[in-house]
Symmetry: D2
Subunit: 385 residues, 4 copies
């Protein structure tokens, strides 16, 4: 079998997760990894059995063996790397957000349209079987027209004012935090399920800890030592936001994001109220879709291939009750993306529809984030035309 050759840029949580899940694909081989230093790259290369290690991402991009590039760097590097890859005409899967702002993402989107490579964004929650099922049910009109959608994405990893991480620094993460990091996932997932875009927003944001006490020493993400000497850092990005949203075609809704909700680890949930049924899904119980009805008992649809629609069933790899989770969703994203790469390589792409987020989707999310920030500042509804 002729494997597609991939290269990874980055060595953090996202890179590591992706490397592990890429292994589960039959037709992909990661042949190179790049990091901010050759040493860091070598260390991960050894760990994952990757043949080549680069201390400069340009070397990886220019390596002729590398066909597909995974951009798993911190946010402020997304733009330059994505641009370089697109200009090199290679296939590109970028971590979200595409860039630091929508001017940059607009540029990338234009480049992507002209590129001979396939390009996608890691909005992984689309790739759960029951999310796909919800999308198909909506598209097929099984439950009538959607009217409302409400939900959120709440976490607790930044609960205390002593929690610190590079994501709190707007120079590395961008002007928005909770909205950009997790709200973007909610918006992408829900837009995907509805098959409709958000066209108008009104936002209320809040920085619960306007000052955080950052440890003086260099910090890895998960250092929690409480005795560390600390220094006050002013925080300008939001810990919380609630956003009223209007979709194309008159769907109204709202979502809430929070990184300071104790006990909530990664709770992305949505509830879509359609004419004949309500669909509710919670990422922390991903193997179950609740379907509320008025004239019949509610339904609990579980991740069992025999119960799902054909497209959704393809995302199921283990029997009912053999629960799949977050890593499996990521694997599904790769199966989808690399399927498109294979079809592009073999010129058969017209035959199938992909589910992954395109650079067009990713750029639209960037404009959505901009609109949310602007709405909060201006206290006005803002259109995303």
């Amino acid at each position: 079998m002729n494997k597609v050759k991939a290269g990874m840029i980055g060595t953090g949580f996202s890179a590591t997760s992706q490397l592990e899940q890429l292994r589960r694909l039959n037709h992909v081989e990661v042949v190179a990894i790049a990091a901010s230093s050759k040493e860091k790259a070598l260390e991960k290369a050894n760990q994952f059995g990757i043949r080549k290690a680069y201390g400069d991402y340009n070397e990886l991009i220019n390596d002729p063996e590398v066909e597909v590039i995974h951009n798993c760097t911190p946010n402020h590097l997304h733009f330059p790397i994505n641009k370089a890859v697109l200009l090199a005409g290679k296939h590109l899967l970028s971590e979200k957000p595409l860039a630091m702002n929508s001017d940059e993402s607009a540029e990338l989107n234009e480049l992507a349209k002209k590129s001979s490579g396939v390009s996608g964004v890691c909005f992984n929650y689309r790739h759960y079987p029951l999310v796909a099922q919800a999308r198909e049910a909506v598209a097929g009109g099984e439950y009538g027209k959607p009217n409302l959608v409400y939900g959120g994405y709440v976490q607790d990893w930044l609960l205390y004012d002593t929690d610190y991480n590079w994501r709190l620094n707007p120079e590395h993460n961008g002007a928005s935090r909770a909205i950009a990091d997790i709200g973007s996932h909610w918006c992408d997932t829900v837009q995907h399920v509805l098959g409709k875009k958000i066209v108008e927003v009104f936002a209320d944001l809040k920085t619960v800890h306007p000052v955080r006490r950052k440890p003086k020493d260099h910090l890895t993400t998960f250092s929690t030592s409480k005795e560390a000497e600390r220094v006050d850092v002013k925080i300008t990005t939001e810990d919380y936001g609630s956003v009223l949203v209007h979709f194309e075609d008159g769907v109204h809704g709202v979502f809430t994001v929070s990184q300071v909700s104790a006990g909530r680890k990664n709770r992305l949930y949505f509830e879509i109220a359609a004419e004949k049924a309500t669909l509710a899904w919670d990422q922390e119980e991903p193997n179950r879709l609740w379907i509320g009805q008025r004239d019949e008992p509610n339904r609990e649809l579980v991740r069992d291939a025999s119960l799902l629609s054909p497209q959704a069933a393809k995302l199921v790899h283990y029997p009912g009750g053999h629960q799949e989770g977050w890593p499996d969703g990521l694997k599904n994203l790769f199966l989808d993306f690399y399927g498109a790469v294979m079809r592009r390589k073999t010129g058969t792409e017209q035959e199938t529809v992909s589910s992954f987020a395109t650079f067009d989707d990713g750029h639209r999310i960037m404009r959505l984030i901009d609109a949310i920030l602007e709405s909060h500042r201006a206290k006005k509804w803002i259109q995303i035309y």
Copy 2:
């Protein structure tokens, strides 16, 4: 035992529920009932073994035996009846909303302050044991300062455009429906738990069915015959609303109301993210309070007197696992309200604190509803000073 003598005005769902729960109190006797006709009043009087039946509510108000009056009429009658009762100096428990608008409720609130009677509003969700527990935990600072609150109140009883009821007529129900009918409950419950008032709102409302097909014949609330001849009725009140809220002291939040969410029967839920814990409660699973934590396992606190604080434990009448529900919450409201009546009668009221909503609370809720409607119209944040 010398029982307090009560009179009921109304014969609908609210009146019937209240009559049944009042029977569970040792020290209360309903001695009279009034309806829009003597016949209707007599029928209910016979059913519930009530001695006197009136076809005019003024007769009941003027009956010297009647000490406490329950106003369970449709919304447009709340104001004139409440006013008459207050002017008569009797104790008054009014269904919510207090009136059709905040001008009327302001007048009632002034009268209530001068009245020698105790007056209260039926915001019954305060009176669940685990709601009381949440309030005490917040007040005691056990979980630190609350930062955020989000939730909603969703139902499905008006899902179809063939659903019709007097509440859809603004002349009987007021200018707001979903917000006034169920949103008001959410606001009252959460304000009560937080011990803080909402001071600013931004609202987005939607009438999902701008036209409903009302049966031509006279309709009882629950008639669902589909074959009936129908006539189109324009609907001006909202089926849905999401409202961004700011509380005193910087708590931010949002709530969603819907009467068109299939499968959701009466789901009032809230989640309060405080400094050290998140408290989540769902009226459809009222015997459980979820307490999220970051550094320890989350907690599931169940309605068991031995586990609750002293005030909350008083609202528990059956052992743990012997679940109590909506009727029991209503009973607790009456125990609370009649306790205040007894203390007023015996001049001992300084000793105890009541939990029921006062006319001041009810008036503030009316102003909140006005502000929400105004915000939606003006697309602006509106203060409730």
Copy 3:
């Protein structure tokens, strides 16, 4: 309205609960109460507004005004009181168990058959709407023939060896405890739902605390003072039991009872695996019936009259989402029992079917308990012919 006149014997938890729920019936009046002393009877009579108080239960039985008698005494008094009531020809609702052993219950059952009064046993879990729904679904063959049933009834109120109560004394409670007190409820409920009798049992019982440390002083049920002086008491009745059961018609199953399962307050649950569906119900979430299916999504049937069968819907008194619980189940039992009493009085009883447990049912449960004890001793399957 001509009310049926009832008398209560007993003043404990069962008596108090029943007095409160009886008040919710339109057509019943409790006119007398008897206790072990006139003082105790008077106290409860005052509390509940009951006209007559007796220090001797025979006086109450012989009071010509009393038509229906509620026997809410400790177990060892069930037999003599039930016998006296039956001989007096009055209507009788007895707490379970009917007597201390099946010889006694056989005698009562014979008397009941000859009595002109209606007689019933307080197996209250039959009277939840979703239990009734499950029974109707099974009887109607909607889900095919039941094949299996498994479940249990677990609590934690006797978790510690310092927990003590009259129920631990076999002279007052009988030779079985966990099986008789809670296992009997499971058996009655499941037999009722299946419409089939248990005909064979194999049991394994265990006394987790063979010695308990009883406080020296007189104890009320819920005294938990840990500093009390204590005396060792040998315990002969079981804290735990698991029983394999065979029903008529080949249904196999098993149930577990425990009074030492920390965190479980009153968890009676069962799961019936039938040909086409599995029905699961948990008394601690009584407003929901889970219906498992293989070829379709599972169903969550909630307590909403519009979704239930006609008989089950009659047990629903509040709208969907307005949860009803344990007190409401007890009220339903009384509505059912007093319905039969009214029909007996008016000679119309042939028209309707009651749901409450008869003395025949109660006697069979006594024989089942005997068989379970014998099976455990003999380590053999025991038939209940």
Copy 4:
């Protein structure tokens, strides 16, 4: 990095699942696969990029490059293959059951003790983080002595009499089905958590479909065509069983297995009632451990490394809320087993304790199955000495 070289025997669900999960390990390479024909082996080899394909398992066993062998064949081949591998002195991970009966497993166990290779059995449910956590909590005495354990393992994949599969043929699967296939998992998991062996059993088994209608044509496991011509096949193995169990040290319990419980996909659950807490875990919600308490709120412990004990935390590979499932548990088993292999190779094995099931464990489970079958036949308690 010097990878350990593995060989796979088998191409079914078990083999495929294992091949996929093995890829996630850094230090393992599957170099060969054997099947019943060279063609089948080649097909899977191509799919998974395996270098060598054999049509005879002996060739694979004798391949000097192969160090570790995974035996994923149907049950009746477990014994001869396991024996051959052990005699070859290679490392061996066998699917459960070890053999067709305990005579065979006894022989294997003796061989395993003398073998220079590491040998293990695929009881994968030990390897979930919250199962490991429960084991550590029990071992550490955190919740006091366990007293009781109850639970089961229920599925619906053989619900209809038209369901057919090789597992229904005792010549391929052995004399027991539901007990051997899924009951063995329950027993292994619970024995592992308790750190105690089952020493006595009493069983009640049932074949719900004594005749099944097998399609005439050759069948793959999941063919469900209903129109197929069918032939009646007599079924001798059980669809259901409930087994009373006594553990060392006086723990009593019971478990239920069923393959005919509609809607239950793979529900392995247990509840351990210990002196101070009850631990409940359900394989279908594997990221949560419920810890019941009497004097404090119950606890919900979620799979978050920061909340778990050090050993359990090692089984967590993704952050809290990023749910892991069945594939991840299998990966953990391999990490554990290959860790032991590496230590054996490097002579460092005294330093660490493994968690995987040994051949001693596997043999004991075989004896347990024998005892359960004998108990059912003889209607007696049977000891496993």
